[in-house]
């Protein structure tokens, strides 16, 4: 993700502009740097650059979809777990990696049985350095400036002069991973194709992705509360959605429908998906200039006026909003899909607790539904300049091992550690011990990991609800047209201009400024950076699509 836009800001109700912008910013971009900043995706899968996709069929899921973007669902861990690699992938010097984490710090190697068993399985020491995710950009900048790069380094979001920086400091992996070459690393070959697209710059592969589901943002719904109130879990129109919100609100009893103004939902309701759109001729449009965007702002103000949003909702942190939803103070919460499992832990003591995802309804019943695409990756790991082909092969084998699929013994070692010490089996499912919970925060998964799957131990309903949400929602997802494109202006100047526009948006949604101010704010953005970004994207798109 872009370092200038925090995850919390992303989740803020009134930051829809930032939110959909971030979904784009999270993706990397293939490029071929042009003199004026526009750059193209280095060829699509069509010209054989992207790695061949060969998914595993060893571990058949309980829930599978014909839509390849929908993650497979598992009710239990495949039994018996099977090894998908042979021998140890490395035997040389320790492998140094720098990444970030969203978890607390893990105990050091000498006190971490999970880390020790991982090193034993890898055949070398994984020397892992990491920082809190929010501070990673500072560490990244100093590490690059200091020219003391570890073997593997997380590339989070887009950096200024990205293609030149990658070429100067990191290894071009095209020769080793593009096309069928990736089949030497079968676990990497099972990573989804859209994720690889985000590692391409200047027509070359620069890293191994950490893939994510395309489902992106979720309108989390307390299904048990809606069912008790006799409400539908999927409204058909904005009118029904609004009536539902009113039915769920009773401020005297301290209940509101939303913990934040659901602007991201209202944007999709008004046909706005992603920050940019492109037509068949390659003409890009900044979606904030569309009438639907202004209409969504007007709808947001109207929703606020109805009093269905918690009065403190737009001023608190997301942790507080999560608590509100768990406590039943609010019925909805907006957040990234990756946060879904934590709600089951928080709601474990609540009788009948059930969580589902609600799709943004069309404005009119039967109208067209759209959905903003989630980022296909969290980030990617690049290999520092490496002249020794044997060492490079060793590093790639380690990455391949780390990407071992759900169902394998390698996955268990990576996520759960050592049986009897850091985890035990509960039936077929591995479950961390209390000791293991602390040790499993080691952020190995942020180097690379397997394709996303849906798994909740002993909670079949939770697996079904997540699967159903993906199945229902991903069909409406509008691909992000900037994924695979690089705009130097967007990276270097876009954030500050976008911040000003977001500030205006917040003021409008809070009712401090009239909706009619939006047009002038967008015009100012376009003249400052928007028009340049648009032309850079158009140039990049033209190169990518011939």
């Amino acid at each position: 993700m872009s370092g200038t836009i925090s995850r919390r800001r992303f989740l803020g109700a009134t930051g829809a502009f930032a939110a959909i912008g971030l979904l784009g910013a999270c993706s990397g971009s293939p490029s071929s740097q042009s003199p004026n900043g526009g750059s193209t995706g280095g060829g699509g899968a069509g010209d054989g650059l992207l790695p061949t996709f060969r998914p595993f069929d060893k571990f058949p899921p309980d829930l599978a979809s014909s839509n390849p973007d929908v993650s497979p669902g598992y009710f239990s861990y495949p039994a018996p777990p099977t090894a998908v690699t042979s021998g140890v992938p490395a035997s040389g010097d320790p492998i140094r990696a720098l990444t970030f984490t969203y978890d607390p710090v893990a105990p050091e190697l000498s006190h971490n049985a999970l880390w020790q068993s991982l090193n034993e399985a890898l055949g070398t020491e994984l020397d892992l350095e990491y920082t809190p995710a929010a501070e990673y950009n500072a560490r990244f900048a100093t590490t690059i400036a200091g020219n003391d790069l570890p073997d593997l380094m997380a590339i989070k979001g887009q950096q200024q002069q990205m293609p030149a920086m990658l070429a100067a400091k990191f290894t071009d992996l095209t020769e080793y991973l593009s096309g069928d070459a990736v089949l030497d690393y079968p676990n990497l070959a099972a990573l989804p194709t859209p994720a690889w697209l985000s590692t391409v710059y200047d027509g070359k592969l620069w890293g191994v992705p950490v893939p994510r589901s395309l489902i992106g943002n979720v309108l989390y719904t307390r299904a048990d509360m809606l069912e008790r109130a006799g409400l539908s879990l999927q409204p058909e129109s904005l009118e029904e959605f609004t009536e539902m919100a009113q039915a769920l609100t009773n401020d005297r009893e301290g209940r509101w429908a939303f913990g934040q103004t659901p602007l991201t939902v209202l944007l999709e309701t008004n046909g706005i998906a992603n920050l940019w759109s492109v037509d068949g001729s390659g003409a890009f449009t900044f979606n904030a200039t569309l009438p639907g965007y202004e209409q969504a702002l007007a709808d947001a103000v109207a929703l606020n006026d109805l009093g269905v949003v918690h009065p403190d909702g737009n001023a608190v942190q997301n942790t507080q909003r999560n608590e509100w939803m768990i406590a039943g103070t609010t019925a909805f919460q907006i957040g990234l899909y990756a946060g879904w499992p934590k709600f089951y832990v928080q709601g474990a003591d609540i009788e009948g607790f059930r969580l589902t995802g609600m799709l943004s309804p069309a404005r009119e019943a039967g109208g067209e539904m759209v959905r903003t695409a989630g980022p296909s990756i969290s980030h990617f790991s690049a290999v520092a300049k490496q002249d020794d082909p044997e060492r490079l092969a060793e590093i790639l084998r380690v990455l391949d091992w780390l990407a071992a699929p759900f169902g394998s013994t390698e996955y268990i070692t990576r996520r759960f550690g050592k049986e009897g010490e850091t985890f035990t089996f509960d039936g077929p499912d591995p479950v961390l011990t209390s000791q293991g919970i602390n040790q499993a925060t080691l952020p190995v998964r942020y180097i690379t990991e397997n394709s996303p799957v849906i798994f909740e131990s002993r909670n079949e309903q939770a697996v079904r609800d997540q699967f159903d949400h993906q199945e229902a929602g991903l069909q409406y997802t509008v691909p992000n047209p900037t994924e695979g494109l690089y705009s130097e202006t967007a990276v270097s100047e876009g954030a500050s201009a976008q911040q000003a526009l977001t500030a205006t948006e917040v003021e409008i949604v809070l009712g401090n400024r009239p909706v009619s101010d939006w047009g002038a704010a967008v015009e100012s953005y376009m003249s400052a950076v928007g028009n340049t970004i648009k032309s850079e994207y158009e140039e990049a798109w033209a190169q990518l699509n011939g």
Binding site: D103, P104, E323, G339, G347, A440
Partner: protein, 316 residues
Amino acid sequence: MTTTSPLGLGTKPRKARPSTSTGRPVWMGPPNRVLTAMRGLILTIGCAAVILPFLAVVSTSLATQAEVTENGGFVLLVREPSLASYQAILSGGVVTRALVISILVTVVGTLLSLACTIGLAYALSRPGSLGSRPILLAVLFTMLFSPGMIPMYLVVKQLGLLDNLFALILPVLINAFNVIVMREFFLDIPDELMESARIDGANDLTILARIVLPLSKAVISVIGLFYAVGYWNAFFNALLYISSPEKWPLQLVLRTYVVNETPMGVDQVSAGSDSLPPQLSIQMAILVISVVPILLVYPFLQKHFTKGLMIGAVKG
């Protein structure tokens, strides 16, 4: 009541003193019940404004998931206190070790900073010190211009201090503002004291140790507290310079709990696991852990604190 100008140029009205019916000033008269009640009310509200948030922080840190859920977030009075949050943070030894590192860095850093600041401030306060003027200007220059993150990193790297705890101390060893404040205090000490000591054969070091420092307890306490709080709260230097998480100070370790919204790898834990306290409780427990050591130091410095703070304020 009026008064005559000393120069006899005219008279001007003078504000009457507030007085009671007996002619005595208000503060010498019997207490007015209404005013007393008002004062009490205002003080109570003021105290509540300070105490209640802190109580909520402590209570929430001791609350169970059920109580956090019941209250929709913060808990003001906890019914069944639980130490689960503290156990979750302190188990595994990461926070305990970070606490030791923070205390070490704070104590060593504060002592070194005080030693260097006292030495520099004393030298700059003595007339005739060699190069005192350009050195003072150099010190002031650092107040105006910051070197920036990357140049600082490169200097620390060139000095071979990366992943070394001294990287948390040396780059911030001397604070120019503190040097100026201390120099002003030293300049206030009467020259006669030092001259008499010099007549008795004392050199500069003896004068500093035997005369200046005993007279400067207030300013040393305050500046020491400034340094200590600075070292205690610092996390950004550690983020840049310390690559091994096992050497991270407390604030950086705790930041991983507070900034990130997930208490731990929840997708690896079964729902209903009793080993996961609520995230809000963990965050509040972290607040308690991070402020308690500094709170413990304050009472011992309080007597010097007001006096020390006034040094810069009243100096002409």
